[in-house]
Amino acid sequence: MAAYLAKRFLIALATLIVASMVVFAVLEILPGDPAQLMLGMNASPDAVEALREQMGLNQPVVLRYLAWIGGLAVGDFGRSFTYSSPVIELIAERAIVSVPLALMSLALSTVIAIPVGLYAAARRGRASDTAMMGAAQVGVAIPNFWFALLLIYVFAVWLRLVPAGGFPGWSGGIWPGIKSLLLPAVALALPQAAILARVTRSALLEVLGEDYIRTARAKGMPRRIVLWRHALRNAMIPVLTIMGLQFAFLLAGTIIIENVFYLPGLGRLAFQAITQRDLIVVEGVVMILVASVIAVNFLVDVAYAVVDPRLRLAA
């Protein structure tokens, strides 16, 4: 087990280093001068040059890469050009929005998807199955920003139950924060739930065709018990895989929803940083995301071992 973990760790580390090179190289060839962008159209050329010098942009590429990666190794992500505050602080400020939002929507989508998938699989081919899978199909097809706008007009503009957007921070208590994340979490969770429900259903159907299910039924075990105890557990592997992918997506891929609700999340930080050519921030955010995707994948692997004893023994 220890050797297995060590191997996984080394692979993760190598992935991170390769990712850092790719990210750095891509941003290097991106056109646009950060100094000119900061000072704008009327700036005099010598002011731009002075700022380039201050930002260290006149040093050779390799030196800048080594300085950056050396900083990362000791946990120093550098300072943002535009915000002029440490990158790690910026990421932390955004993570307190993005992480709770991702967790809320993942929880919401799981709570909806697993029972729907189970129910539909148990009633395969019947009207209720068709109706649920039809609804799931619609859920996959609806663009989430449109659904989000619909939610805003109903719950914020018309009923005035929740704010139309923005994030007040956690300093004013948990409830205002949760309240402002409620609509975005629902908007994000619905399409994810639809996908997850379909995956759960098809994974269950596959398992339900196995011999041991027939055996269990033949020895007189009630359908419900068979479904929950024998079928669901064995169907969990593809479901967990999808959930892992979804969490990674929810952490960073929510830029559209963050824009609709003007939430200061990680996606928007990355987006703003790219348009402002705040390269060090882009690099920092991407590295954090790469690291979290790797971490989530690792956790999913551990979860596999929990639901499937064979993997535990093989390792």
């Binding site: 991106l30 056109p31 646009g32 001068d33 950060p34 000119q36 962008l37 900061m38 000072l39 704008g40 159209m41 009327n42 700036a43 005099s44 050329p45 010598d46 002011a47 002075a50 700022l51 010098e53 201050q54 535009t82 915000y83 002029s84 505050s85 910026l90 400020e93 955004r94 920003f145 706008l149 805003i152 007009y153 914020a156 503009v157 005035r160 139950l161 704010p163 139309a164 957007g165 923005g166 994030f167 921070g169 824009n259 609709v260 609700f261 003007y262 939430l263 200061p264 999340g265 928007r268 930080l269 703003q272 348009t275 402002q276 050519r277």
Partner: protein, 493 residues
Amino acid sequence: MKIVKPILAAALLALASGTAANAARTDLVVGMVLEPPHLDPTAGAAAAIDEVVYANLFEGLTRIGPSGEVQPALAESWEVSEDGLTYTFKLRSGVKFHDGSDFASDDVKFSLDRARAEGSTNAQKGLFAAIDSVEATDPTTVTVKLKQPQGAFLYNMGWGDAVIVAPETADKNQETPVGTGPFKFGNWAKGSSVTLVKNPDYWGEPVALDKAEFRFIPDAAAAIPAMLSGDVQAFPNMPVGDALPQIQSDPRFKVVIGATEGETILSTNNKKPPFDNLKVRQAIAHALDRKAIIDGGSSGLGVPIGSHFSPANEAYVDLTGTYPYDPEKAKALLAEAGFADGIKATLKLPPPGYARDGGQVIASQLRDVGIDLEIIPVEWADWLQQVFKDKDYDLSIVSHTEPNDIGIYARKDYYFQYDNPDFDKVIAELDVTSDQAKRNELYKQAQKILADDAVNGFLFELPKIGVWDAKVEGMWENSPVQANDLTKVKWTD
């Protein structure tokens, strides 16, 4: 239990909204599209910086008022010597910075010297170029000597880039700004909002608001529900788009279509053939139907312009008739210039709607006279690099939002690549003229030269669509400088 819960929730809700409506309001949430990168107006060109701090948090020797006029600020009065070379500013006494320290003449000397220093990153160093020396004569008097007379010096000192900062705190102003204004810095939730609070020790008339929050809403689709739900009570420059009629018909809101200093132009590379040919540029001018461009690019709002000058300025002359819309004339001019078979060129468009949507209209108008444009959308960083810095472009569309910026046409390295000694002479004379009537006359000459030379396609003045709660008073209707001055804003009941 099932019924009780909703009723309870409704009661709580009514209670919450009831108290909010009855209390005398002294807070305001102002919507803005862009978040400032930092809060130091002396170290960046981003309009969003001034839109938060100008007049609210920082003050200069002078300031620009709602109609673009120069008003006293930290200098209560000034004297100009006979030869126009010496300005003696009498400063206000009893002024304190937000950190409690006293404001005095050495702060003025520090701020101006810092802005014009060798390694300064002030984005508008040109404002200070004429200064020869700054002397703190006594604690409330500052003497500024100029190298040559400069007509716009007092106006220049009113820019956000020329505000007065304290030596002790200047380096920290990007994160925690310390100024002398009627509001002081509260907090900045990055990506979300900046909050300013009332400065109880302000030297002048205290502001009516206790708290002003600037909330950043980049998406037009989010701005409208934010206004409709009451989360945001004022949006001085709102991206409304097609929702304008809906907002205008809502009695809860006041909608004011004002003027900005944004001359929206079809920028033209005057050194790149065939655009170095005056006849080609005149042909383009004749091919542009401004009304259709304003309808397509700016929802029908915006005043047509015929040169690079704001219609709100008293020195403005209407030159839209110099080359009136006349496609036949345009074709004839192209033929005369030797391009009877047409021209192929590129049109690089930055992200704003006026450029992307207006660009489609312009491309179709120019195609009608035989100029075939390939549209290339670029993002801002690309635009600044390719078009503005490297001058690698044929045509582009952009709004020049700096106030009174006609002087850019005299800059040799500017991206229009325009070069006309007659024009340079007018600007040089303008630089050394302080008499307002004479200045206006020179401004008129300058506008005329640019219009005749058809340097760029002059399209329209960018409108400012201001939306605020009907009970809010004192917002600026026009935008002569980039600012959201909240010093006179209050709630009425």
